[in-house]
């Protein structure tokens, strides 16, 4: 449970910030995927964009969590928790 919070929450905050900066600079209506304009409403692109950012930031957090855990286990050190 705590691990899920550690992964999902910071990535939510950073994903939200990334979303804000990205879509302030770029208008979703101007987006092209493989050369084709995206045929979705702005609201839809904002929502999908946010979850895409969150997915990537969460993947990064999860990887950090995983590496922390294995390094502690492999060296047999106390986690200090």
């Amino acid at each position: 449970m705590k691990r899920a919070m550690w992964i999902l929450w910071p990535s939510f905050l950073v994903g939200g910030t990334a979303e804000m900066v990205f879509f302030t600079l770029l208008d979703p209506a101007d987006l092209h995927v493989f050369g084709n304009p995206v045929e979705l409403s702005r609201t839809a692109i904002y929502t999908l964009g946010f979850f895409l950012f969150w997915l990537f930031t969460a993947a990064s957090s999860a990887l950090t969590c995983y590496l922390l855990q294995t390094s502690n286990e492999s060296t047999g050190e106390s986690t200090g928790q």
Partner: protein, 474 residues
């Protein structure tokens, strides 16, 4: 025949401390209700912040919502202002101002934000209030959770969760109401026809509120909140914290009201445990400053009530500073330390940024222009032997009224601008205008020339925008 190997069953070897489980098991906390000076302050702030949050989307201004973040058309309406993506810097500035204010409050007053105004605290208070109304006080709630499931328990739990979900849903609707006009939204919700994305965000935000305030509660502060961790950087020995006066309180122990505790060698703490029972994060403040303490002062209120009952002076648990406690300062000595260098630096920075930010906002031009050269052709020769360059001007009128603009150009001899007539742009819209510039090659040198476009408001000539571009003559 070999004799059987003697086997002895041994109990599991105890795990060494280094392999103890990484996560402690969460014990559910049942905060006891408390009343008093600080509880009233918190209640006041709950009401004030929520009146603002739930009420703001309903306010109207110029026949439109007073506050509307219209993401679909990329415009933010805030009272009399219309902000465009180009004005993002003001939003960033506002965030910097909020962060600096938080630093200032934290340096002076400790976790004031956490204890009184943080949405996590505010919604937990609201959800706890519902819980108390349905399930009763602390002791009854604990009994109810320990009891077997019967009709009464099922009913109480169902009603509680339904009410929580209603508050969550209303919060979700209000949240989306900042992005879609709330009257339209509510009409759609009642007729069960909101858009798919709006439905999604209402449910997402609603469930997040329900989960955070109903289930997660203090865990959000303890494990999820980054501010809780980095605030120590803003703390110093003169920051207000909730403290237990151990010198006065120890040795603690129970006694009758009539006992002369000093004669018995006891301190003022009667060890009633109220301060632990009222704590929303379940800590014992008597163990000293802990990072879990959100500074809500519920233990201060709780202890003061007990002190009143015992006829002892209040303030065994109180707001104080580390220095004041160590050196036995009076409150005026403590107040004298408020304006220390760190605080003065925060105040100075804050004043500076607020001044720059509000000046820039006040002087913000209601007209913005972008010039894009026509990509198809660099230049064109007309039948009369003149040279023509074509541009696309994006004229953004950020004012709410319509305006007429005159387009002029300078930088070369005898430039002719088409269109010559003023261009009318409706309120809070962008208009794209194709502009043709024409020069006589006999009167200008060949090459690439720097030119200036000037777009001027016909009715208010002070409002103008000047943009650079290039003119090419072969």
């Amino acid at each position: 025949m070999a004799s059987p190997v003697p086997l002895k069953v041994v109990k599991d070897i105890e795990q060494p401390a280094s392999e103890a489980p990484l996560y402690e098991i969460r014990q559910k906390i049942y905060p006891r209700a408390v009343s008093g000076w600080f509880a009233h302050w918190r209640l006041g702030l709950v009401v004030a912040t929520q009146l603002l949050f739930y009420g703001l989307p309903w306010l109207t201004w110029n026949a439109r919502p007073a506050v509307l973040f219209d993401l679909a058309s990329r415009k933010f309406y805030i009272l009399g202002m219309v902000l465009w993506p180009q004005d993002f810097i003001f939003l960033a500035g506002l965030l910097v101002i909020s962060a600096l204010s938080l630093f200032l409050f934290t340096a002076v007053g400790g976790r004031l934000f956490c204890g009184y105004a943080c949405p996590q605290t505010v919604y937990t208070e609201i959800f706890l209030w519902i819980e108390r109304k349905i399930e009763g006080d602390r002791a009854r709630r604990m009994r109810l959770d320990g009891a077997a499931l019967d009709a009464d328990k099922l009913l109480r739990k169902t009603v509680k969760h339904l009410l929580w979900l209603c508050v969550g849903l209303w919060t979700g609707i209000t949240f989306v109401g900042y992005f879609t006009p709330i009257r339209t939204l509510l009409g759609e919700v009642i007729s069960l026809s909101p858009g798919p994305w709006e439905t999604f965000w209402m449910l997402f935000y609603g469930f997040a509120t329900y989960g955070n305030a109903g289930w997660m509660r203090e865990q959000v502060c303890k494990y999820m909140c980054p501010y809780a961790r980095f605030q120590s950087a803003m703390f110093d020995p003169d920051t207000l914290i909730i403290t237990y006066d151990a010198q006065r309180g120890e040795p603690r122990g129970s006694r009758a009201r009539s006992t002369d505790y000093k004669a018995k060698g006891l301190g003022a703490c009667v060890d009633c445990g109220i301060c632990v029972q009222v704590c929303p994060t379940g800590i014992d403040i008597r163990r000293g400053l802990q990072y879990e303490c959100i500074g809500c002062a519920a233990c201060v209120d709780g202890c003061n009530q007990v002190m009143d009952k015992m006829g002892y002076p209040r303030g065994l648990i109180r707001y104080s500073t580390q220095n004041a406690l160590k050196q036995d300062w009076t409150s005026s000595q403590m107040a004298a330390r408020v304006f220390r260098p760190r605080v003065l630096v925060y105040i100075g920075l804050l004043l500076l940024i607020v001044t720059v930010w509000s000046t820039a906002l006040a002087l913000r031009s209601p007209l913005k222009v972008d010039v894009i050269r026509d990509r198809a052709a660099l230049m064109r020769e007309t039948r009369e032997g003149k040279i023509e360059n074509v541009y696309r001007l994006q004229i953004m009128n950020t004012d709410e009224q319509a305006h007429r603009y005159v387009i002029k150009a300078s930088g070369l001899n005898d430039m002719r601008v088409t269109p010559f007539a003023p261009v009318s742009v409706a309120g809070a819209t962008t208009q794209s205008v194709v502009v043709t510039l024409e020069v006589d090659p006999a009167r200008n040198k060949p090459g690439s020339h720097s030119i200036l476009f000037q777009v001027e408001d016909m009715d208010q000539p002070a409002t103008r925008a000047i943009e650079k571009s290039r003119f090419i003559i072969k």
